[in-house]
């Protein structure tokens, strides 16, 4: 560029004019920055509609603040209820209360014996009850809990046929029919039932179900919003409930590939309900996944000391395996395997899915497949289908795995796990392009879907 001729040179600026010019440009610069920021915000993705800050300040009501106290209460409950059913005798109401107390304890310990005993008590109660009476709701809930959803249909229908029931009770029964649909693979039917239940009576437990529904449909943001609504709608929040909620929120963070956020939630869970072996195990796996092996090992040992649950052993074995400590890993896995076999004998349907995970990692592929088929027959939901898919892959049946999982994906089970499985299945079946597509979809949902550390995540991935 050439400068203008001297004749056209502009007049010199006054001294004060320089400062004003600089000030003017600074103001214009700030204004431009403000405009750009506003435009940027307008073009940002839509923000969630729910106020999620409630999730950071969940208050609690009086109740056991730690696992040991809660377990002591539960033990008392079982003792008191057992006193009313000496030698298995007692009316159906007493049996129902006994079963409920056992399920409460099982929630804290995951012991197979409690599930089996609860089932036996409910069977006795139902045998005694006249038509139209009996432990209908608890029977249905038990069936759902031990992964036999179809067995919940009859008691729920009986329950809903009662002549006198409140809206809240009707909503509860309807929501549980939604659970039956959910666990038998009918995502659309489940949503309809949940919405129907909310229309009858808005209940935070149904909102909790919707959170799970959204998660399995591949929408973690909607799930988090549902949890925020649960918090706002729940009048009484026991520490155990709050801790459980934080575990679910951590699981959602895992779904989104945010391991740091997941760990934060698991730490919150552990803090709100101290001494809970499950929360401690969640924390242990995150330390391992984030590279702090020493801390992970310490936390796993703490969790095992609190409760030598075989799922914790499996997580610990995975950590040892990843570090090349094959002999130690095998030893821990062997103890876990023995315990899973024992539990399978006592409560097969409740334990099948968990035992299957162990078999896939350590055991025999044919045995894993047998467990997976049985598990899927009982509750053909997306999760069971995906597990069956993994078992089929482990047995060299990629085409069959695709045949099992593609329909559930089409039915709406669009979590990243579905696509991660499909990616592997397509690759084994020689369908490279499909494998690429499935892989990309899995990564869109969870950027850490194929992170090597996934093998260390045994908790919160379901």
């Amino acid at each position: 560029m050439s400068a203008a001729s001297p004749a056209a040179a502009p007049p010199p600026m006054a001294a004060g004019g320089s400062a004003l010019t600089i000030l003017r440009f600074a103001v214009l610069l700030l204004l431009a920055g403000l405009i750009v920021t506003v435009i940027g915000r307008l073009t940002q993705p839509e923000q969630p509609r729910e106020d999620r800050s409630v999730l950071e300040r969940i208050g609690t009501t009086p109740g056991p603040t730690d696992h040991a106290t809660a377990l002591a209460w539960a033990e008392d409950g079982v003792s008191n209820a057992a006193a009313r059913v000496p030698d298995g005798q007692g009316d159906w109401l007493a049996q129902e209360l006994y079963a409920s107390s056992l399920l409460t304890r099982a929630r804290l310990t995951a012991r197979a014996e409690d599930y089996a005993a609860a089932g036996a008590a409910l069977a006795r109660g139902n045998a005694q009850a006249a038509n139209g009476t009996g432990p209908m709701l608890v029977t249905a809930q038990y069936a759902l809990t031990v992964h036999r959803p179809r067995e919940a249909v009859a008691p729920l229908n009986d329950y809903l046929r009662q002549a006198i029931m409140s809206d809240a009770e009707k909503a509860a029964g309807t929501a549980m029919l939604g659970d039956v649909a959910f666990f038998t693979g009918d995502l659309g039917g489940a949503k309809r039932r949940y919405d129907e239940a909310q229309g009858i009576w808005r209940d935070p437990t149904t909102e909790y179900r919707l959170a799970r529904w959204h998660r399995k449909a591949g929408d973690p943001d909607a799930a988090i919003d549902s949890f925020a609504r649960v918090v706002r709608g729940t009048g009484r929040r026991m520490p155990e409930f709050v801790a459980g909620l934080y575990l679910q929120l951590g699981a959602l963070a895992l779904d989104q590939g945010d391991w740091t956020a997941a760990e934060r939630r698991f730490v919150q869970a552990d803090a709100r309900f101290g001494g809970w072996w499950l929360a401690r195990a969640h924390r242990a796996q995150m330390r391992g996944a984030l590279g702090d092996v020493k801390a992970a090992e310490r936390l796993y040992r703490e969790a095992l000391a609190l409760n030598p649950d075989p799922s914790v052993m499996d997580g610990y074995a995975a950590l040892l395996r990843s570090q090349g400590r094959a002999a130690d890993a095998r030893a821990v896995a062997a103890r876990a395997g023995a315990e899973w076999q024992r539990r399978l004998r006592i409560a097969p349907s409740a334990m099948a899915g968990h035992a299957l995970e162990h078999e896939l990692a350590w055991g025999s592929p044919p045995h894993a497949l047998a467990l997976a088929r049985a598990n899927h027959r009982l509750h053909p939901d997306g999760d069971a289908a995906v597990l069956l898919g993994w078992a089929l892959l482990a047995n060299g049946r990629a085409a069959e795995a695709i045949g099992v999982v593609e329909p559930v994906e089409a039915a709406g089970w669009k979590g990243w796990q579905t696509y991660a499985l499909l990616a592997e299945a397509y690759a084994l079946a020689g369908r490279g392009d499909d494998a690429d597509d499935a892989r990309k979809t899995a990564l869109e949902r969870n950027p850490r879907a194929f992170d090597p550390g996934q093998s260390l995540l045994w908790f919160g991935t379901h």
Binding site: M1, A4, G33, H147, R325, L387, A394, A427
Partner: protein, 413 residues
């Protein structure tokens, strides 16, 4: 009763059926297909290596020798006529990159004389012969003759259990497929490289006007403007080509963060120049100088491609051509608007607005790149610039509208 329902429902939620993703880690074989051999980048989770081999994992000589021997016994390839390929393990070590540690090895697969290096039967039994649930993903990461340059990977297949062989046929290949892919890569990179394009556009803003002392004045003749534009673009091209070639071929390197900060500063300087003549008549020199910096950023994307010097050279050439094509398109799209508006009284306002826009972006990016933390201004700028084509189209409409509204000023002789 309500509490009972809540408690019992909670039980059901917490005991939902498990459905963990693959609970055992995978191996990966990443294959790069060259003109004379296949290079395999092998990743085996260290834990599963130890489990399958019974060996101790470590980087001491004994452990690595044991690992080499084990791996050599579990990998092979044959040509379509059954003759064996030679397998050479170039490197092997245990590393921790992301997640648990891995056995990482580089293996060269060399075809027998006369055999097609693009067709082989791969044989692999490492870990999968012992651990039934272990899975090996085989992907192509580079195949110059097929236009695959490593930006995307192509799944070739998988191995598990008794499935220990995979037939690979990469087809004939096209001589310039890689160069075309590199060109596409270059086009894609510069199109998404908002900072590079903004630097160029900021330098172009004062091209249609004359400097008069410490201010920009009236419009420059069209021919002179076009020469200025050509000089700036050419100088920028020469500058970034020099460092792109240097980094890709001679491994010239600067740490990424200072390069990115310098790029942001180059935009700031261009923005200042668009406001007031800082270096009138020397725009091409500045473009060339800062082009050297921009080229270092380009090089991070394209270095390492190509298994032999010819492929590397063609990759760099193709990449550079892609960049130039998009640059020329952007200049061709923006220049007419600038020329038109420069002949109206509105140009100073446009020039100032453009300069401020670039200045704000530069400041935001400097802050972001120095601190490593995002900020809303930088995010807003990136979001806005993704709509670049619309902005250019809008500029042209504005130019045409202004031309109709104002009488053209006569260019200064």
């Amino acid at each position: 009763m309500r509490l009972l329902r809540i408690a019992v429902a909670l039980l059901a939620m917490l005991l939902a059926a498990p459905a963990a993703a693959h609970l055992t880690p995978n191996s990966e074989l990443r294959l790069a297909f060259g003109r004379s051999h296949v290079l395999a980048d092998v990743v085996i989770p260290m834990g599963d290596y130890a489990l399958a081999s019974g060996n101790r994992a470590g980087n001491d000589p004994a452990a690595r020798a044991a690992a080499r021997a084990w791996l050599a016994g579990h990998v092979g390839a044959t040509a379509t006529d059954g003759r064996a390929w030679r397998v050479v393990i170039d490197e092997l070590r245990f590393v921790k990159v992301a997640g648990p540690p891995d056995l990482s090895a580089t293996v060269r697969l060399l075809p027998p004389a006369g055999a097609d290096p693009r067709r082989l039967d791969l044989r692999w039994s490492a870990v999968i012969d012992t651990v039934p649930s272990h899975f090996v993903l085989v992907v192509a990461t580079e195949d110059f003759a097929a236009g695959l340059l490593g930006r995307d990977r192509q799944v070739l297949g998988a191995l598990q259990g008794e499935q220990q062989a995979l037939a690979i046929d990469r087809g004939g290949g096209a001589p310039l497929a890689g160069m075309a892919a590199a060109a596409r890569l270059g086009m894609h990179h510069i199109a998404e490289g908002h900072d590079h394009l903004l630097f160029l556009i900021a330098l172009l803003l004062p091209a249609p006007v004359l400097a008069a002392g410490r201010r920009w004045n009236g419009p420059k003749p069209v021919r002179a403007t076009l020469w200025s534009l050509a000089a700036v673009v050419t100088a920028f091209t020469v500058g970034h080509s020099v460092t792109l070639i240097g980094a890709a071929v001679f491994d010239w390197r600067l740490p990424a963060q200072p390069v990115e900060v310098l790029i942001a500063l180059s935009i700031m300087i261009s923005a200042l120049h668009a406001l007031r003549p800082v270096f009138p008549g020397r725009e091409a020199l500045v473009a060339g100088g800062f082009g050297l910096v921009h080229g270092l950023a380009f090089a991070t994307l394209v270095s390492g491609y190509g298994l032999d010097p010819t492929e590397r050279a063609l990759t760099i050439l193709g990449f550079n051509l892609g960049i130039e094509l998009v640059q020329l398109l952007v200049v061709a799209a923006v220049a007419p608007s600038l020329l038109l508006i420069a002949r109206t009284p509105a140009y100073p306002a446009l020039r100032t607005a453009g300069a401020l826009f670039a200045g704000v972006a530069a400041i935001a990016w400097v802050v972001e790149r120095v601190s490593g933390l995002g900020n809303p201004v930088a995010a807003g700028m990136d979001a806005l610039l993704t709509h670049g084509p619309w902005l250019i189209g809008g500029l042209l409409l504005l130019a045409l509208a202004l031309r109709r509204s104002y009488a053209l000023r006569k260019p200064v002789a």
